[in-house]
Symmetry: C2
Subunit: 626 residues, 2 copies
Amino acid sequence: MKSEIVVTFFPEGKRVRIEEGKSILEAAYKAGILIDAPCGGKGLCGKCKVKIRDEFLPLTPSESNLLTESEVSQGVRLACQFRPRQDVVVELLEPFREATMGKTELEKELAVVKGDVGINKYFLELPKPSLDDQRSDEERLLSFLPNADRLAPWVRRALPTHLREADFRVTATVFDKEVIAIEKGDSRDEIYGVAIDIGTTTLAAYIVHLPSGRKVASYSALNPQTVFGADVISRISYSIEKDSGLEELRRKVLEGLNGLLEELCGFTGICQERIYKATVVGNTCMTHLFLGVDARNLAFSPYVPAFSRMVKTRARTVGLNICPDAWVYVLPNIAGFVGADTVGVILATGLYRKNKVYIALDVGTNGEMAIGSKEGIIVCSTAAGPAFEGAHIRFGMHATPGAINRVYIIDNDVKISTINGEAPRGICGSGLLDAVAEMFKAGIIDSTGRMLNEEEAKFLPSCLRERLRTCEGERCFVLSPRGENALGEDIYISQRDVRELQLAKGAMRAGIEILLKKWGIGLDELAGVFLAGAFGNYIRKESAVAVGLLPPLPLNKIYMVGNAAGRGAMMALASPRYLRKAEEIARKCRYIELSALPEFTNHFMDAMSFPEYNALELEKNRKGGL
Amino acid sequence: MKSEIVVTFFPEGKRVRIEEGKSILEAAYKAGILIDAPCGGKGLCGKCKVKIRDEFLPLTPSESNLLTESEVSQGVRLACQFRPRQDVVVELLEPFREATMGKTELEKELAVVKGDVGINKYFLELPKPSLDDQRSDEERLLSFLPNADRLAPWVRRALPTHLREADFRVTATVFDKEVIAIEKGDSRDEIYGVAIDIGTTTLAAYIVHLPSGRKVASYSALNPQTVFGADVISRISYSIEKDSGLEELRRKVLEGLNGLLEELCGFTGICQERIYKATVVGNTCMTHLFLGVDARNLAFSPYVPAFSRMVKTRARTVGLNICPDAWVYVLPNIAGFVGADTVGVILATGLYRKNKVYIALDVGTNGEMAIGSKEGIIVCSTAAGPAFEGAHIRFGMHATPGAINRVYIIDNDVKISTINGEAPRGICGSGLLDAVAEMFKAGIIDSTGRMLNEEEAKFLPSCLRERLRTCEGERCFVLSPRGENALGEDIYISQRDVRELQLAKGAMRAGIEILLKKWGIGLDELAGVFLAGAFGNYIRKESAVAVGLLPPLPLNKIYMVGNAAGRGAMMALASPRYLRKAEEIARKCRYIELSALPEFTNHFMDAMSFPEYNALELEKNRKGGL
C-alpha cells in the first residue's frame, strides 16, 4: 500500500493528501487550485513553476532543461515533475497565485483593527433567583454586563430556558450595548462573522474569526435562483409575472446561502449560532432579491434601484441561519447595474485611496468597472458577461471540472488543459478567451473576427488546417476532437462563438475607453488594472490584451485580484471602519450610464475588432510582467 | 309608527336612538352605560339621577317625591322616569360617570404635548426618474425629507410600487428620522396610534388621533386565550405541556387584538395602516405571551419574569395589523405579578407625583396594589381576583348582559338590577360584593361570614327569611327566584360563595394593610384610594367598605378610575414624556413579595371576617362622598 503525503499550498493554506508518486500538479487539481499547465503536465512547456519548501529531490531531465540555475537555487520546480516523498509546503508563484495585494492590505488592516469589531463575549456565573432576589432574568443578566443596556428580541424570547439549562453559567455576547446571544458555559473564544457574495451565478461565503481577522474557511455554490433564469433580467421577469415570484426568489437565494453556511460550519466544526455578524455584497438586483425588495424597475430604463444606502437588519428577519439577533449589513449599491459587489471591489483594491489612477474591472455575468484614485471614482457597467460565463457559446460551460480553461497554439499544434485535468466536456470563459486569442495570433481569424475560408486556410500548417472545418453551416475550429473528450463529439469554437466574444469584449473595452476619457488621461498615465471576479481570476493576461479586452498595457500593470468583492465584504465584516468606508465610497462614486452616451456606440464598434497583432510588443509587455 | 329620538350621553359622547316613550334608563342600557337603578326602574329608590339638558318636561309623581327643589332647578331628573320627546343630551352624575380625574389630567397633559409625538407626515411631489436622474427611489425620497435619513424595512420593500402607483405624489410618515410609511396622495391629517390593554380575561384597544391627543374610539373583547384556561397559571401550564403551546398562545392573543383593531377601524373608517404607534400594557404573563417569551417561571416560586424593561419592536415583527413599520412599545413590568398594567395605573392616577400618599388598587383576575407619592412607590400583588370575575361562584358570570350587578336590601325586601336590564342569568363581581354587603348589613350573615341557621333566621323579616334556604346541603340566600329570571331556577348566593368572597377580599385588604404598614402611616394619613379595573369601576364604594375590602374611609376619598391601565397606555402613546415616565416608574417601584412575609397570614386571617357594622359611621362616610 502506498503511503499518503500531505501537500500544503501557500499562501492559500489549502491542504490535501495524495498518494506517494503523484505530482504537485495532481495535488493542486485535487485542492481545486488552478496551476497553468498548457502541455498537459508532460514537462514540455515549463509553465507550472512552483516553489517547494523543505524538500530537495534531484531535478528531472525536463526541469534541468526548462529551469534556470537561479530558479533552482530558490527552490523553484515544475509542479508536473515534482513528486514529493514527504509532507511538503508548496508556494504558488504569480500568475497562479491569487494576487495578494488586497489580501495583505486586509491582513495589515486587521492587525490594526484587531479587537475593534465591537463584539465582546463575557462569561458569567449569575446568582440564582430567590424570594429575596426576584429580579427578572433580564435585570439579573444586565446587572453583570456594564457594557449592555438591553436584550435583543430573540435573546429575550429564550432567556429563561437558556439561563436555567446552563444553571446560570452562561456566556453573553454583547454588540453595540445589546445582548445578542446567550450560550451555555464558557464560549468566549468563538466569535465569528460571515461575509457573503451573492453573484447572479455563484454564491460565496467566507467565515472569519473576528478577534483575529483570520479567514477560517470559504465556500461557494451555484445560486439556486438560476432555475428561474441565468441572468438578472429573466429573474426580474419571473418576479413580475408571478405574484409570489419575488418571495420565491428571495427564498431560493436564502436556501442557497443557508446551505453554504451549513456546509461551511459542518466541515469547520463552527456552530452556526456563533456567527454574530454578516456582511453581504452582490449586484444591485441580487441584494434587492435577497431582501425581498421589488426589483422590477432595474429591468426598464432608467434602471432605478429601490434603495442604494446600506441596509442593517437582523439575521432572523432576513432568514439567515446564524445567531438570530446577529446584524446583517448589506453594503450600499451605486446604481441599477453597479452594486454592492463593486463597492466591495473598490474597497478591497483600495482604489479609493490610491495616489495614482487605476481601473478595476469585475467580470461576472455583468461587467462593472471603475476608474479612480483618492481624487474620486467614476463607475459604469456593461452587459458584458454572458459569453464569459459560457452562455450563448456552442460548447460553453461554467468553470467546473472538465471545462477547457487554457488553449495554446504552440509549434503549430493545439494544446489544451481542463479544470481538474478531467476529460474535456466544454469550454469555460477563460478557455474561450484563450482560444480566440491564440486563433487570432495564429492567423486563423482575421482582425474583424472572421474565420478563414477553405481557400484561405490552405496556407495554414496542416495540423491547424485539419481542425478548421465547416460544421452545421458555419466555420469552426476544433479544440478537442471526438475520441479525446468526454462528449464523444468534436468540441469546437464556432464563428458565432467568436462573434459573441467580440460583443462581450467590445462592450467591456468601450467602457474602459470611456472611463479613461471621462477621467481625462491616456493609457500611459494609467497606473494599472485590477481584474476581479471568478472569471477575471483565471484568464491569461496576455490573452486579454491580445483580443483587446484590455488595452495594451505591460502585463505587470495588470493585477489579478480574484474575488475582490468577497474580500471587500470580509474587510467590512472585520472592521467597522471599512463598513463606514463602504458607505463613503458608494456616496462618492459618480455613475455614468453608458447607454445614454452617444459616443458609446462608436467606441463599441471600434472595440469589437481585434488589435493589430504585434508579437514583439506583446513579448516586451510580457517580460514586464515577470 | 313611533318616531325615533337620539339620546346623547355626556361626557362619554355615546349616542343611541330610542323609540318615543322609552325612558333615559332604557336608552342608557342600550348604550351600554350602567346607571344604578336598584328598584328596577320603578321610580322607587331615587338612585338613577341624571341631568337633562335642553328639554323640560313636567315632573312625574316619583320625581316630585324623590328630588329636591335645588336638584330640579339644576335639571336633575330620574332616568327611569324621564321619557324624552325630542333629541336630548343627558349628563351622567357620579357615581355612574367614569371618574374623570385621570381623564382630565390626560387631556390637560395632551394639550401641552400636542404635536410632540414625534411623528410627522409630509406630502411630496417627487421628480420622476430619467436617464439624467437615476437616483434610487430611496435617495429620491430622502432628498426631500430633511428630517429623515433612512427607510424602515417594509417601506423599503414596497417603495418602488408605492411611488409609481401614486405617480410619485406621496405622503411620507417620518418617526425618529426613519420613513415608516409611504401613502398615495395627501394623507397628512391621518396620524393615529393605538393603546392596548391585554387583560387575562379582556382585551381593550383605544385609538388616539395623535396630533390632537383625542381618543377616537375604544373597544374591548374577550381574550381568546381563555380557551386555554381562565387564569395565567393554566395558560402557562399549556405553554409548558405542549411544544407549540407558547406560540399558540401568542397567536391567539394576536388574533384577538387584530380582530379588535379590525372592528375599531371598521366603524371609525380609519385605515389600519395609518396607525403608526402602539403602546401595550398587560399583566406580566400577558406581555410575555404577547411577545412569545417563555413565561414558565412565573408559575413557580420565586416567580421571576424573563424581562422587565420596556420592549420596543416593530408591529410586523410582533404581528399587529397596523402600519408594518410602526413601533410597538410594551411598557415595562415590575415583577412576576405586577405588570405593565400596574405601571399604566400608576401613570394614569399620577400616584408617582402626588404630594400626599395614595393607594391604587387594580382588581382584575389578579389584584395588584400600590402605595405611594412623589417620595416613592411600593407595590404588591395578591391572588384576589377569581371570585370578583365570577369564578368559583355558584351562579358567577362575567359582567355581561343579564348579570346581577346591584343588590339592595331595602324595606326588608331584595331589589336587584342587571346589566342592560335583561332578565337575570347570574351574578357578576359587583353583584356578589353588593349582595354579601347587604346580607351582612341585614344580619343574614354574621361577622365571621356564617349564614344564619334556620333557628337564628326566625328573627328575620318574613320576606328575607323565605329567601334563606338550604340548597344542595348548604345555606343559601336567593336573589332572584325561579320564574323571575332567565335560568328557570333560583339564583342564589351560597355559603361557599360568601367564603370565596371572604378569601378574595381578605387577601386584598391584607395587602392594603401591609402597604400602609410598610409606608409607615395610619389610615387617617391616607389621602385616598384609586379603584381601577373593569370590576373596580362598577362596584359600590359603600359595599366595598361594608365588607371590609377597603378600609373604613370616607367615600369621597375613594376614586373610581375605570380602566386606568388602558388610560396609562394612552398617555404613554400620546406623549414620549409619559413613555419615559413609565420606564422611570417601573425602575423606582419597590416590590414586596407578600407570600414571603410572615405577617401576611395574620393580616389575611383578620381581614377575612367582616368589620363591625356601624350604620351611623357608614352614613357619615357616605355623606362625605356626596
